[in-house]
Symmetry: C2
Subunit: 439 residues, 2 copies
Amino acid sequence: MTKQLCLGGFMRPICLHTAWWRHPEAPADANFNWPVIKSLAQKLERACFDAIFTADHLALMPMPPEALKRSATVTSFDPLMMLSAIAACTDRIGLIATGSTSYEDPYLLARRFASLDHLSNGRAGWNIVTTVNPEAALNFGLETALRHAQRYERADEFFEVVTKLWDGWSDNALKMDKESGVFSDIERIRPINHKGKYFSVKGPLNIARPVQGWPVVALAGASEGARQMAAKSADLVFGNARSIETGRSFYQDMKSRAVAFGRNPDHIKILPANQVYVGHTRAEAIAKKRSMDDLVHVESNIPNLSIRLGVDCSKFDPDKLLPELPVTEQGQGNQREWVALARREKLTVRELAKRAAESGTGEMVGTPSEIADQMEEWLMTGACDGFIIVFHTVPDGYDDFVTMVVPELQRRGLMRTEYTGNTLRENIGLPRPNSPLDN
Amino acid sequence: MTKQLCLGGFMRPICLHTAWWRHPEAPADANFNWPVIKSLAQKLERACFDAIFTADHLALMPMPPEALKRSATVTSFDPLMMLSAIAACTDRIGLIATGSTSYEDPYLLARRFASLDHLSNGRAGWNIVTTVNPEAALNFGLETALRHAQRYERADEFFEVVTKLWDGWSDNALKMDKESGVFSDIERIRPINHKGKYFSVKGPLNIARPVQGWPVVALAGASEGARQMAAKSADLVFGNARSIETGRSFYQDMKSRAVAFGRNPDHIKILPANQVYVGHTRAEAIAKKRSMDDLVHVESNIPNLSIRLGVDCSKFDPDKLLPELPVTEQGQGNQREWVALARREKLTVRELAKRAAESGTGEMVGTPSEIADQMEEWLMTGACDGFIIVFHTVPDGYDDFVTMVVPELQRRGLMRTEYTGNTLRENIGLPRPNSPLDN
C-alpha cells in the first residue's frame, strides 16, 4: 500500500488567518457558533480526516488594544467541552484537545479525557502544552508564568500522574455479574499513591480505563524541552516548518530522538501545520490568498509577530531587517522558525509582521494537483507523516480543501477513502498501551 | 394558570438505588454507556422535563471492599463532559452539572459553564458543591478535606470569582463589523482584578458572556452554611425531605431566608429528590419496589448508611436503635434527615441501613393517580416547587415515570405539555442577571 498522509483539521480557533472573519461569506461568530462548528466537523469526517485538532489559550491574547479589538480569538469554547459535543454528532473522526499541564489539575483532566474517550468510543487525543502567556498566569494566582525548565518539569510529572491514573484500572476490572451482585473486581482498580514534587495524588480514577488505553498523546512546540518530551511520549508531533528543508530537519531530528528512547519511529507521527489556498487555476488560488491577506488591518501585524516571536516587536524599526533576538521563556522553537524565514527571504520587520498576521504556519498555494504534488513530496522525502490543515476562512477554506484537494489525494492513494479502524489509534496506526495490571 | 411542577431528572449516577444495575432489563454499564444515556436524555426531553441533573464525586466512594465491589458508582462520566454531549443531541431540556468549589479552578470552571451555556443555547446550570469525601482530598494534594467553615468560605469566594468573570463581558461586547474590521468593543470586556483569600484572578474570560447571563445556579445540602449560601445565591435548591412535614419545614425556611436577603421567594425553587415507583395498581408498584429492594446485598447496607450519615456505622449494634451521633464535618443536613426518619419510625441501625441502600432520597409508591395526588399535595401546600426525580432502574424507572406519571400530571395541568421558553431560566421562570457593564 502507498504511504498515506495523516490529516488533522485545525478547528479551534476555527481559522488561524487574522482576517478570516471578515470574508464576505464567513459567519463572524464561527468560533463559538455551535451549529457552524458541528457542520464543519461533520464535513471533515465525510472527507475522512483522521482528527480534529483544537488549540487553547487560558487568557485573552497579549496584544495592544488596537490589535485585540480586531481579533476573533477573544471568544471560543473550552476545547474539551467543544469536542464532547462534536463526539455526540460524529462517529469516526478523532478528537484532540489541548490541555495545559501548567494550570489544569491532573485528576480532573485525566477524568475528562477518559470521559471523552468513552463518549466517543475511542477517539480522544490530548495535546499536552505548557502555558507561557503571562496573562494566563494572572488568571491562576501567579504573578508570572513558570520558567521554561519548571514548566517542562511540571509537565513531565503531570503526564506521569495522568497516565498512572489511566493505568490504575485494568481493562478487565468490570465484572457486572448480576447473579452474584459483584460489579467490579476491585483488585483490578488500584490507587496510584503518587507523591512527587508538584503533585500528590492517591487515585484511583472513578472512571474505567479509556477505550484506547491512553487517549492519543500529541505535543507541539519545538524547544529542546518539548522535543525531548515528545520524542519520549508523544504519538503525534505538531510542527511548524515553513519550508520543506526545515520540515525534513525537524522530522529527522524527532525520529532519531524517538529511536534513542527505544521507540519505533513509525509510532511517532510528525504533522506540520499547513494553511492551504487552492483554486481551479494557480492564479485563482493566488487571488484567494491575496484577497484574504488584504483584509488584515495593519495594526494587527506587529502584535501578531510579537506573539510568534515571544518578544515585543513594537520597539524594532519596522523597515529594517529583524535584529538578533534575546533568548526568551516563550516558544523558543516557534521563534527559530520565524527567524529562519526572515533571514532566508531577507524580510524587514514590517514584511515579516505581515506574514505573521496572514498565517501562523506554513502555506501551500495552487491547484489541487499542485497542492497534492507538494504534499506528496513532503510525505515521500521524509519531511512529514501528514499535516494539520489550517483553514483560511469559513466555510470556503473548509469547502475548498474538502472538495478539491481531498479527491486528488484520494485518487493518488495518498489518503484513505473510508475509515479503516474504529479508534483514533487504529486509524493512525498506533499501538494501544497496556496497563501494568494486565501484563 | 395552575401552579406547575418544576421537574429535574437525576441522570448521574443514572440511578440511585444500590441494586439498579442488577435488574434483569438494565444495561449494567449504563453509567458510562453513551448511547443509553443519550436515549434517556432524549426521553426526558420528550416528556418536557425542565432539566437533567448530574451529581459528582471526585474519588471512589469511601466504602469497605465488600460494598465497593457491589457498587455501580465506580465508573461514570465527568458531568460537564457528559452534558456537553447531551447538549448536542437535545434542544430544550436544561443541563445541570455539579462543579466542586473545593477542587476545581474558578477560571477554568467559569469558562466550561459558559461553554456549555453557548453550546446548548442557554440551557446550562451549575450545581455548586463543596467536597467532603476524605478520599477526594487525597486526589488533590491534601491530607484531609477542608473543614466545614473553610469549605463554605472558599465556596463563597469561588462563586464571586466565577460570576464576576461572567459579568466581565457586556452582552453587547461583540461588534463583528466586517467593514471596519473591529471584532469587539474591548471597553466592554473587562478584567476583574480579583484578589481574595483563596483566589487571585485577573480575567477577563476568553469566552463571551453566557446566553443566560449566568447559567442557572443550584445548591444542595442542608447545613447552615449551605442554606445561607443557597438563600443568597441559588435559583434552585435540591432538598432531601423524606416526609411532607420536613419538606414544608425546609421549604418555609429557605423561602424566608431568601426574603431576608431581599429576594423574590418565587425566584428560588425548592426541589426535593424523589424516587418514584409506579404501577397500574398499587400492588404492582409495591411489588416493583420490593423486587428492586430484594436485589440489594446485605453487605451494601451499613456502608451506604455510613455515607448518608457521615459517620462509620459499622461500630454500632445493628439491632439497636440508632445512637446519638457526633457532630461531623460531613453532610450535616443530610444526617439530620436520616436521624429524623430513624426516630420517627423507631428503626434499628440494620433497618435504617437497609433503607439507605434502597434509596438515598424520599420515595413515592403507587398508581399514577396516587403519585400525582401526592405531588400535587406537596406543590399546593408549600412543601416544594417541584422534584428531582430519581429513577430506580434503567430503562424501567425512566419509562414508568414518563409513560404513566407524566401524562397524569399533564392532564391535571401540573406539568407543561411543551416547552414555553428557549433557555432554562425562561422555562423555569427565573430572571436573567445583568452585567454591571450593561446597567
